[in-house]
């Protein structure tokens, strides 16, 4: 649990946001993330994010589902509880394909959802810091992570010049934690000096 310092700028227009992201990156600031009310096409490219590897995980989950289904059915129907279904061979792959398909989809679907939640650090009862509640409503919220070398005043004025409607500085824990957000947050705020060095 490390608490860091962030400069937060809120934009109300996509057309201002895109050049702002480009200029902020060019100026050498580290953008932690941009929170938007809806998916903004092309923003991921502008932020220079690498392509997600979630689909590779999905492929692996799918293979696990396929192997589970094939292994389990073939064990039941050829070894554990052998039955005669209309004279078909005991090992009849064709009849199992629907089940194998279903389990493939189920495993990859559930697995990818859970992996996605893990990557976004989301889970039930887990708290996360909200930089601006209006990020789910009508504002694009750009968050710049401060390093020991960052001149906070300069970063603030840079954001304002780039077109941010509202600029402020926040100390926050970006990871996840268990507990009550409204009570715990104050504790972190009190410890804020630790990183301001």
């Amino acid at each position: 649990m490390t608490i860091k310092k962030f400069v937060v700028g809120s934009f109300d227009d996509e057309d201002v946001l895109f050049p702002a992201v480009r200029n902020v990156r060019k100026a050498g600031y580290k953008i932690q993330d941009v929170y938007t009310p809806f998916p903004v096409h092309g923003l991921d490219k502008e932020l220079g994010m690498r392509e997600t590897r979630l689909h590779t995980a999905g492929f692996i989950y799918a293979l696990c589902g396929l192997i589970t289904a094939l292994g389990f059915i073939s064990w039941i129907l050829t070894m554990d509880w052998v039955q005669n279904y209309g004279g078909k061979p005991h090992f009849s792959l064709l009849a199992w394909i629907p089940i194998m398909f279903e389990l493939t989809v189920l495993f990859s679907g559930v697995g990818m959802t859970l992996t996605f939640c893990y990557l976004c650090q989301l889970a039930p009862f887990v708290k996360k810091h909200h930089f601006s509640p209006r990020a789910t409503d009508d504002l694009f919220v750009m968050v710049i992570e401060c390093t020991p070398h960052t001149d906070i005043r300069e970063a603030e004025s840079f954001l304002a010049a780039a077109g941010a409607k509202d600029v402020n500085v926040q100390n926050a824990e970006v990871g996840w934690w268990f507990g009550r957000y409204d009570m715990d947050r104050k504790l972190f705020d009190q410890n804020a000096e630790v990183v301001t060095a």
Binding site: H41, G42, E51, H55, G86, K88, L94, A95, I97
Partner: protein, 407 residues
């Protein structure tokens, strides 16, 4: 300034006339060697080859119009920059409609009962199953419904094309744009509903499934439709890549190619889903009157073609087109398009041939010659249609959205 006017390159013309020449030679040789032959098998091979090709090319061209219509109904804008390409392919529908009609007239009036078993009056009189189907499978109904179908496809397709050409004439703004989109939607709706009544259900039963007159499957039409839809999509992809290579379609980018690739990938898998569903239920129930369709295909003479069909049209696209990178790669999309185009041609081959020529099938000079002839016809008329209208509908209300399209 963008290049709006497509001029048919000399190389394209050379290939078109080359294929047409090869095809015509094969066709004429076919007429004399097979068509006028005393051997009934040869005659059946001649007509079955014509039937397979004319139906395949008719249905894939019409599938391009269906592609435009579902995009209009979905209010999608991404395809606006290249929508003249499916339109140009769909402009060949009248040509193939006439070709198919001539082939039908020759087969039905010429009593080619090896192809359509229900033409044999003696068999219908004594056969219980054929007698049952008499109301649907008879020459009168066949021709009435075929002519209605072809007419509506051609007329509504032409209407939608005309609406599209309106976007070249001048600005469409405000209330007029809303009206323009609305009339597009109405005509696309009419086309799609009629398409569901024809390609989606009755027409493949009538034209193709009735070759195996005793057998029936409710999945058959969807299966045929998917085969032709993937075929049509591969044509669109090939032409997009070809025109981009020539320097046209400056505003059709990898983003659009990616979406075409997704279409091809998704519907290849849906094709396999229907292929398997039809096969598995019949295999499981194991009722003789149903397995009669799969007996020659899976265990008989068509064994190799049956499995090549499955591997080419399902295993290859699912493995090769799965990643994002391959759908955005011009070379891979071109390769897969050619492969799938031939793959679905082979799919139509194994739909038509077992019921028509049985074990005496061959995939020789005549079949490949017919393929060359029909590709030549397709290239000739598509090229002409492309050269007639500007390549990008510049005043289309959705064009801007298409230009900034991201996937």
């Amino acid at each position: 300034m963008i290049r709006q006017q497509f001029e048919i390159p000399a190389k394209y013309k050379k290939w078109t006339y080359g294929l047409l020449a090869v095809g015509l030679v094969a066709f004429l040789a076919g007429v004399f060697v097979l068509g006028f032959s005393k051997d009934e098998h040869d005659q059946t091979r001649f007509w079955a080859g014509l039937l397979q090709n004319s139906l395949y090319f008719l249905l894939i061209c019409n599938a391009c119009m269906f592609f435009i219509c579902i995009n209009i109904l979905g209010q999608s804008s991404w395809q606006t920059t290249f929508r003249r390409i499916p339109e140009a392919i769909a402009a060949v529908v009248p040509v193939f409609a006439i070709v198919s009609l001539i082939v039908f007239i020759a087969i039905v009036m010429g009593h080619q009962h090896h192809i359509y078993h229900w033409l044999d009056k003696d068999a219908v009189a004594t056969d219980k199953i054929l007698n049952w189907k008499k109301g649907f499978l008879n020459p009168t109904f066949f021709f009435v419904w075929t002519v209605i179908t072809l007419t509506v496809w051609v007329v509504v397709g032409k209407k939608i094309k005309q609406l599209s050409l309106r976007a070249d004439a001048g600005e469409i703004t405000g209330e007029e744009a809303r009206k323009y989109i609305f009339s597009n939607t109405v005509w696309a709706g009419i086309f799609v509903v009629f398409f569901a009544l024809t390609t989606g259900s009755t027409i493949p039963w009538l034209w193709l499934m009735s070759i195996d007159a005793h057998w029936y499957s409710t999945m058959y039409s969807w299966y045929t439709f998917m085969s032709s839809f993937v075929g049509g999509l591969t044509l669109i992809a090939l032409l997009v890549v070809y025109l981009k290579n020539l320097g046209y379609l400056e505003h059709t980018t990898r983003e659009q190619l990616h979406d075409i690739g997704k279409y091809i990938f998704a519907f290849s898998i849906f094709w396999a889903y229907l292929w398997f569903s039809q096969f598995m239920l019949i295999w499981y129930a194991n009722i003789p009157e149903e397995t009669v369709y799969f007996k020659p295909r899976v265990q008989g003479a068509y064994n190799a073609i049956f499995w090549i069909n499955f591997i080419v049209n399902f295993i290859a696209p699912i493995l090769i087109l799965m990643t994002r990178g391959s759908k955005r790669n011009y070379a891979i999309i071109t390769f897969m398009s050619i492969l799938l185009f031939l793959g679905h041609w082979l799919d139509f081959y194994q739909m038509v041939m077992p019921g028509a020529v049985g074990d005496h099938y061959s995939l020789g000079w005549y079949e490949w010659g017919m393929l060359a002839l029909f590709v030549g016809i397709l290239m000739f008329f598509t090229g002409r249609a492309l050269a007639k209208a500007p390549l990008v509908p510049i005043y289309h209300p959705y064009l801007k959205e298409s230009l900034i399209h991201h996937t």
